[in-house]
Every structure is written in structure tokens, then in C-alpha cells.
């Protein structure tokens, strides 16, 4: 079972999620700065969520790149991740419209937490299929980011009981931590490069060159 349709479907869903979030920024009827002002928190929520979807797309890209085959379990783990990410537009809109109030901020953190757990489950299902010696397993290693993020989300969710701005700070902090793409996988992939074909793009070409 090839992984190209899994990538295509995930790319499609993420591209739509990232784009329909902008529909929550409702066009004001007023052509003045006063009409634009209430949209500032909606816009800031959008920026944060855009960055998060970008991070997920980026790391998903790396993870599937280090995956050899797609099983039924991996497919459903992937759909589970997409499910939580598909709720981000709703959580973003609710948090933005209510100017980062406590409950919407907690829900936003909950969706991020659930997506993080779903990502971890997907990673585990790939490693379970491909063994302890898989590229992904070696690449992920200690995975301190994956372990720290849920903790920071939890702190953020609990912090909404006292001061919602702490939650926002946590969500921004996690985004900053992840903004650096997962160089571990990239690095391990390069180290493991031994001339064998890795992707459709290079396969035919390398094969032909070897023939020559």
C-alpha cells in the first residue's frame, strides 16, 4: 500500500484547514479602522493557528518521508490526527471572537493537546510497524519536544483558571520550540543514505545511472 495517497489526502486536509480558518475573519461592513479593530484578536489567533498547521505539515512531511509502508493502523492514526487538526478552525474562531477569554483559550489548548497526542500515536504506530531499527525510531531519539509540548499545553489549559494570557504564552512558546523543523530525521536520513533509492523522484534516475 503506497504512501502517496496518504500524503495527498493529508496535504489536502491541512491545506483546507489552513485556508478555511481565514473565513472566521468575517468581513466587517464598516470601512473604518473602528470596524477593523475587533478583528485584531481574531487575526492574532489566525496567525498562531497558521503557524501550528505549518509546523504539523512540516513534521508530518518528515515523518511520512521516513516511513516505508502504510498499514491500516497507520491510516487511521493519521485520520485521527487530521480529526483534531480539523477542529482547530472552530477553536481558533471561538478564542479570537471572545478576545482570548478563559474557556475558549482552554478549549484551544485542549485541541492542541489532543493533536499532539494523536501525532505521538501516529509516530508510535509507524515505529511499531517498522521496528526499533527503523529510520524514524533512530531519528526521533529522545523526542524531548514531543514530551515537553503536552506538558506546556496542560499548564496552559490549567492557567486559564487564573490568567488566560499565561495560556497564550504557553501556546506561543510551544510553537516557537517546534518552528525549527525536525532536523533529527533529516540528519538521520542523510547519514543512512547508502545509494539505495529513497523516493519516486530519485529512483528511476539513480537506477538508470547505475545501469550506465
Amino acid at each position: 500500500m503506497g504512501k502517496s495517497r496518504l500524503e495527498a489526502f493529508s496535504d489536502g486536509v491541512l491545506a483546507i484547514v489552513i485556508t478555511i480558518m481565514v473565513l472566521e475573519i468575517k468581513v466587517p461592513h464598516d470601512a473604518t479602522l473602528a470596524g477593523l479593530a475587533p478583528l485584531v484578536p481574531v487575526f492574532l489567533s489566525y496567525v498562531l493557528s497558521f503557524v501550528y498547521i505549518g509546523i504539523y505539515w512540516n513534521n508530518h512531511h518528515h515523518m511520512i518521508h521516513a516511513t516505508n509502508r502504510v498499514t491500516g493502523r497507520i491510516m487511521w492514526a493519521n485520520l485521527h490526527l487530521l480529526f483534531w487538526l480539523s477542529l482547530l478552525p472552530f477553536a481558533t474562531g471561538w478564542m479570537g471572537e471572545n478576545h482570548f477569554a478563559a474557556l475558549p483559550s482552554a478549549l484551544y489548548g485542549f485541541v492542541l493537546l489532543a493533536a499532539a497526542i494523536a501525532y505521538w500515536l501516529l509516530q508510535q504506530s509507524i515505529i511499531a510497524d517498522q521496528g526499533e531499527q527503523s529510520i524514524l525510531m533512530r531519528a526521533v531519539g529522545g523526542d524531548w519536544k514531543g514530551k515537553l509540548s503536552p506538558l506546556l499545553y496542560l499548564i496552559g489549559i490549567l492557567a486559564t483558571l487564573l490568567a488566560p494570557w499565561v495560556a497564550q504564552a504557553m501556546y506561543v512558546l510551544v510553537a516557537l520550540i517546534w518552528l525549527v523543523p525536525d532536523r533529527r530525521i533529516e540528519h538521520t536520513l542523510q547519514m543512512g543514505a547508502d545509494g539505495s533509492p529513497r523516493s519516486n523522484a530519485t529512483t528511476g534516475h539513480q537506477g538508470s545511472r547505475e545501469d550506465a
Copy 2:
């Protein structure tokens, strides 16, 4: 006529269907739990429909994988399936907003029934093109799931006359039955593996290896 664009278009439509359904979960103006409460049935409908689209995408993936070529009839059978699935966001929103009332629950079941019939027609049009000895024909076999599902949908639709919750139970039951991906095709595909190239990804590589 290649099948890659059929897959790409179907993936696109399914990715959009799965994502615009979330737009039916309207962002409440109220930042309280009371504001969130009426959305619970809308959310539950969304989860059910998300799972159904996931199932269809998964099985569609397997079915097209076992297809050799795409004829005009297969293309239209595929569009017919996408038509009914594209109505799922509407049916989901209506059922969710009306808290699983009788008529919306019956309509939801009707859309599921029509999609199931469309899927069966697509399967038949592929088998008709590729003969009784096709991989798909051998893989589908008795197809008890495909025969049981429409029956359960029908029971669900009729049950809305008496008790709508029976309909919901039927729809959840069918989803559970299908959650297991169609291992028959996966199994038959592996059994039939005789070294001949199966997908773009492996073609070039295997070809090159055979040259060496």
C-alpha cells in the same frame, strides 16, 4: 486512461467534504459552557460523519489500488459516489442542529444508503471492466459487509418513525463494522504478488534491480 487523476480528484473532494463539515459547527458568541452545550449533538454528528468519510476514503483507496484502468463508466460511477458523499455535510448539519430528530436522522440514513449503493455500483463497474478473474473480484468475495450495510441503514431509516436513537445506533454499528479496512483486498493483492510491478513507486526500482 490513468487512474492517478481519479485518485487525486476523489482525494480532493473527500478532503474538502471532511473539512467543510466542521464549518457547520458554528462558533458561538458566548464564551461559556452554556454557549458550547447546544453544539454537543453537532459535534457528535461531525465525529460520526468524519469516521464515515474516513472509511470511504480508506476503502476507495484499496478499491482503486486493485483497479487496472479507468473507463468512462468507472469515472461517472466514481462521480456518483462523490455526489452522495458531498451531501453528507448538509445531512450532518441538519441532524446535529436538530438534536437527532426523526426526519433529519432519516435523511442522514438515506444519504448513507445512497452512498453505499453508489459504492457498490462503482465496484460493479470496475469488476465488469476487468472480468471475473480480476484482483478486485477475488478480493471482494462474498462481500457480507457491503450487503449488510444497506439493510442496517434501511432499518435505521424506518426506525426514525418510532425511535430516532435506534437509527443512530444503526449508523454507529455500520461504522464500527467498516472501521476495519478491507483486508480482503490487501490480502489478495499480496497473494497475487508475483514480481510484476504494482505501483509507480516500485516500478522503476524493481525494473532497475532486475537489470542489475
Copy 3:
């Protein structure tokens, strides 16, 4: 310049157009048949437009398949076609909400007419690039469908001045004429098949087999 991204982008736009049209079928607040009744014309408009997008996707598929390369002119001719098709959801919604009234029916016909002209322009720009001897040129031949359709649209548009139902009849008639995929191209392609690779999928494999 490859044609895969042109196909991917067109598939994406058509998949979204076909799916956002369903958003015009607004979920009624009423869980009764009376609540559903006013949606019947909206639904019928949706069915007609779905079939039209399906036809365009299908024929676009065939046309690009018979295209060797993509020039700047072809790209813009393609975007021009997508522009008019992107207006179909608006025209569909307006016609459906106003129960096939005269002016919305005329606008709907106008969008179909403009799309037909855009399709013809795209076809011409491909033939202009690939010469009189191109597969597409031989395949299109007399192109009576392409010549008849704009005429029928025009009759439909003018008929809205007297009786809008004549317009609907014309639009349904053209859809029926086109429902048969463009077998001419399919046929010419098969006739021209002389063992040379036609698509990415078969290229690597055939090449390798020839080596063996």
C-alpha cells in the same frame, strides 16, 4: 514545463468548486418536511451543476492527456476556464434560491456559455501549440458538441425572456449531450498507440522491460 501541476491545480479548483456548491444548500432550522421543501430547487440546481463540473473535469482530463507540453498561453487559457467555472456556485445558488426565476436562469446560462467559450479557447491554444497533426486535433475533428452547446445556451438565455423552463430544458439537454465522455480522444489515443510511453506510470516500466 510539465503538465502535472496544471492537472493538480485544475483538479484542486474543480474539487473545491463542486464541494462548496453544497454550502449553498443552507441547513434549515426546522426539522420538518416543510423546512426541507424550499430547498428542492436549490438541490436540483446543485445536481445540474455537479453534473456540469463532472463533465468539465472528465473532458479536461482527456484534453490534457492529449497535450504534450504546457506553455504560458495554455496556462492562462486554463485559468480563464477555471475562472468561469468558479462562478458556477454563485450562479447555482442564485438560480436555486429564486426557484429558477428568469434573470438568475439567464445568468446561469451566461456562465455556462462563457465556460464553453473558455474551454474552446483552451482547446485552440493547445492545438495552436502542437500543430494540425496533434493527437488532440485529430481527436476533436468536427467537434459538433463544442459547436452546438453555445448555441443551445444562447437559446436558453434568450428563452428566459419568455419562459424560464425552456432555459432549464436547454441546460439539461446540453448536459445530456456531454455526459458521454469524449470517446474521440480516447479512440484516437488508442489508435496512435505504437508502444511508445504515454504516461509517467508506464514510462519507467516499459523502458526497463525494453532493456531486458
Copy 4:
């Protein structure tokens, strides 16, 4: 790291952006010309933005075609460009609904300016990765369009203080300047063609032919 998913994701986002803009053309309840009249500026804004997205897709296509590999920096530079383009539907809707009033026109220009800067940053990050001798570097050359556009946008934004129609004229002017696809890259690519495979599609085939 392959560039196919970067292309697929960008195509997806641009296809959705171009299509959801049409949702801002709200279906009027009135089936008369009077009901359609207020939509004329919304429609004109849509045409302008459609052309802009078409230009960006077109040039993005050429730029990525001249790119050898995708680094983390290129990925984020690409997401940054998509971020600004994703705001175009909002800016388009606001400008159209307010009949090209001063402030919405200025905001529209600001989004275009930010997108132009993001495009330039993406171009720089690709050149930085691939060196002064890269195909892209040679192709871009003086890049007078890339340098003139931000200036014209700035003039447009400032002009909204005096006469918003000057801003519209500037935005239309820049669109016209860019409507011609970036022939420089196309030209340089052809000049640099020395028989080595350039894309997946041709790789296997050419390689095989060389073997023969």
C-alpha cells in the same frame, strides 16, 4: 527532501484561496438586476484577486521548477508567502463590499505588498541555498518586475489618502506587468538543457533511452 509535497501543498492552498474568494460574492435574495447591482464592485475585486493568485501560481510554478531541493528555510519562506495570499479573500471581500473605499483599498495594497516581499524572500532563500550559479539566479537576473511592483503598491497605498481610484489603477497595472509569465526562467532552463533529466516524468524515459 523532495519538492513534490511543497508543490502539492502550495497548489492546494492557492486552489482553495482562489475558490473561497467567490464565497464573498454573497447570493442576493432578490432575483432582479437591482439585487445584482451592489455585487458589481465585489465581482470586480474578485476578478483582480483571481488574476493575482493566477500570477502567483504561475510564477511559483516556474520558481519551484528551477529549484533543486527544499530546505527547512525554503519551506517556511513558502508558508510565509501562502500566509499573506490566504489573507487576500478577506481583503478582497472588504474592498469589494465597501465599493473600493480608501481604507479597504489600502489594506488590499498592503496584503499585496506583503505577499510581494514574501515572494522575494522565498526567491532569496532558494538562491541562498543553491548558489550564485543556480538556474534561478541566472534566470531572475535584474528582476525589474520584482523591484518595481512593491514601489507601485506603495504608491497605491499612499494614494488612498487622496484618491482610492489611483490605488486600483496601480494594482491593475502591476497585474498587467506580471501577466506575462516569467519567460526568463523558461528561457534559461531551455538554454541550460544539456540532456540531463529535469523532471520525474522524463527521467525514467530518458534514462532508459540512453541505455538503449
